[in-house]
Amino acid sequence: MKHTDERNRPVPPLPSTEPVRLVDRHGLRVSHSFFTAPDHKRLAELHRAMVIGRRFNRQASTLARQGRLAVYPSSTGQEAAQVGGVLALSDQDWLFPTYRDSVALVAHGVDPVETLTLFRGDWHAGYDPHRHRCAPQCTPLATNASHAVGLTYAARRKGRDVAALAIMGDGATSEGDAHEAYNFAAVWNAPVVFLVQNNHWAISVPLRTQTAAPTLAHKAVGYGMRGYHVDGNDAAAVYAVVAHALAEARSGAGPAIVEALTYRVDPHTNSDAPQRYREDAEVAYWVDRDPLTRMEALLRREGVLGDEEETDRILAGYDAEAEKVATAVRERMAGEDELDPASLFSDVYADVPPLLREERQTLVDGLREA
């Protein structure tokens, strides 16, 4: 007879405090005892998505500076973490992003303009979550994580093989909701990978004020989950680790936390004042570890894209694509969308209740008069 004090839960393997790294900052491969970098095709895709992401970040930041976006939280410097995570998803998988993850959305296939709807202030979510298997960008910190757990639970009940990637920041891991989501995922053995983008700052609050944990990946231990600590500026490593964690999760081995060590090179948003809380030298240190630079170095050194000429051509192609994305965003942002005031009332409930019908009428009448 088994009794309540006989536990059979294994202690999950401890994450190493050395981040998994497959490509160093000079673009040299680093061998790892377990993980291997994805193949050339994938490496090229990762780079392409990062180039587009970087350009997109720059364009959106410019629009914010010009007042054409209400706000923009740039992820410059974090492209590898976002792109590496998202490209590891399979077709049927879902993404649960935060406000920081526009580059992830674009890599996931969401129309760049639609990722900006929220920040432009036209509406809260600009895309159809079902079409893109992608939840709305989430602002209340860590609250998207339990949604991911519930969604995969539902998918499993409906017999569908769906995993999910839930993204959160280092700061968000301090919230109770992160804990509850991790715990539900582990108990339900949900196929969710929690990608923690540790960009070292939560607005102005440094990581040391956020946690005393050896690494954020170590948080996994307390849930009986696997935790991975990875160089978040190494797209190959992020991809390899997230793909592995997703495959394991899908196979029934349960959820995982992947901590991607990266850095928010830009201010928190365009209205932030980082000079108040961090030093330029710190930023420089991280710029020196830029995810795009190192990937380009790798692609060139190894001739991943072909000979030098071909490489130049393909890289120029990426740049051109990125430029096209930026131009499209700029152009489509130039006009003003027609926003129908009556639409304020349409999707509060499944139908429009009497109270809202009255308010709508009053509003519409008032606008007609004016």
Partner: protein, 350 residues
């Protein structure tokens, strides 16, 4: 969106308690729709601390009815995720004060998901919340939290006052494509009514007149419906004809039944257990005062809990509105001429 044909009705001609009616509603909903799942703290083998989910996990398996980790925000959060993928989760918050940890998920996500996504993502989650006092519960077990939810656009907030409504409204809530905060008047779990299940009462969005009357309108909901009816019966003996309206759906509120009643009677008292200040009764009183202004013979009064934290069991009878306090308020409705503004008396604890 109830996609499978109904199972043969579990018929019952005897009296049934509200708890049993809720139980049967859950049973029928789970049986009829494979997308309905029921979970929360202790809703599995124990059948919930009030036994509302009694027998369900045995009957339908832990696949459909199950216990979850003890974390209310996680419960609402996972339910949102499930609903995003087509399930219809029915979750329980064990007592209403224990829904507070989930407040952010309720207000910032559950209430807003449809709106944020322009209607593309519906989240048909039912959040069952045993609410109110009167059961001798120690602190944190007797809150009336409806005002927090009814002020949150996007949430449908309903509360049954009778066993038949408990059945019908819970079925309707589960079938509804909106998130529903389903407030169960816990002290009325043991109230009985002769009703044959399944029963389909008026749509939950409509308030109903529970007892017709001509002199004054008593507006009540949830646990206070029974009390209001008792008060009306007592008033009748004194020759006063009291109409009792049971609100049922508190938000979004269709005020037509109440305003029609008050325009006829000219007088109104709103009753609830929650503290009066900033309570749901304020909305009813404000709206009725505005919309029935020229029909009012007297100010709309409110009878509710004291404006103090819910008292300990031995003092809760002083907090909760009873027949006496309702009748006292009715008596203050300026039935005689000669009322002057100087007599303005506080409306609480009357």
């Amino acid at each position: 969106m109830t996609r499978t044909p109904p199972t043969p009705p579990a018929s019952s001609t005897t009296e049934i308690t509200m708890g049993a009616a809720l139980n049967q509603a859950l049973r029928d909903a789970v049986a009829e729709d494979p997308d309905v799942v029921v979970y929360g703290e202790d809703v599995g083998p124990l059948g919930g601390v009030f036994r509302v989910t009694d027998g369900l996990s045995r009957e339908f398996g832990a696949d459909r009815v199950f216990d979850s980790p003890l974390a209310e925000s996680g419960i609402i959060g996972t339910a949102i995720g499930m609903a995003m993928y087509g399930l219809r989760p029915v979750v329980e918050m064990q007592f209403d004060a224990f829904a507070y940890p989930a407040f952010e998920q309720l207000v910032s996500h559950l209430a807003k998901m449809r709106n944020r996504t322009r209607g593309t993502v519906a989240v048909p989650v039912v959040v069952r919340v045993p609410y109110g006092g009167g059961i001798g519960g120690v602190e944190h077990h007797s809150d009336s939290s409806e005002a927090y939810y009814t002020h949150t656009p996007g949430l449908r907030v309903v509360t049954p006052g009778t066993p038949a409504d408990a059945y019908s409204m819970l079925r309707e809530a589960i079938a509804c494509d909106d998130p529903v905060v389903f407030l169960e008047p816990k002290r009325r779990y043991w109230s009985r009514e002769a009703v044959e299940l399944p029963v389909r009462t008026e749509p939950m969005a409509r308030s109903v007149v529970r007892r017709p009357g001509d002199d004054v309108t008593l507006v009540a909901y949830g646990p206070m419906v029974e009390t209001a009816l008792e008060a009306a019966a007592a008033a009748a003996e004194e020759g006063r004809s009291v109409e009792v309206v049971d609100l049922r759906q508190l938000a979004p509120w269709d005020d037509s039944v109440v305003t029609a009643s008050v325009r006829r009677t000219g007088r109104a008292v709103v009753v609830h257990e929650a503290s009066v200040f900033g309570g749901y009764g304020a909305e009813v009183a404000a709206r009725v005062s505005e919309r029935c202004f020229h029909h009012l013979e007297a100010p709309v009064l409110r009878v509710g809990g004291l404006d103090v934290p819910y008292p300990p069991p031995k003092l809760e009878h002083l907090h909760l509105p009873g027949v006496d306090r309702i009748l006292a308020a009715v008596d203050r409705l300026q039935w005689e001429a000669g009322w002057t503004s100087a007599s303005d008396a506080p409306e609480v604890g009357a």
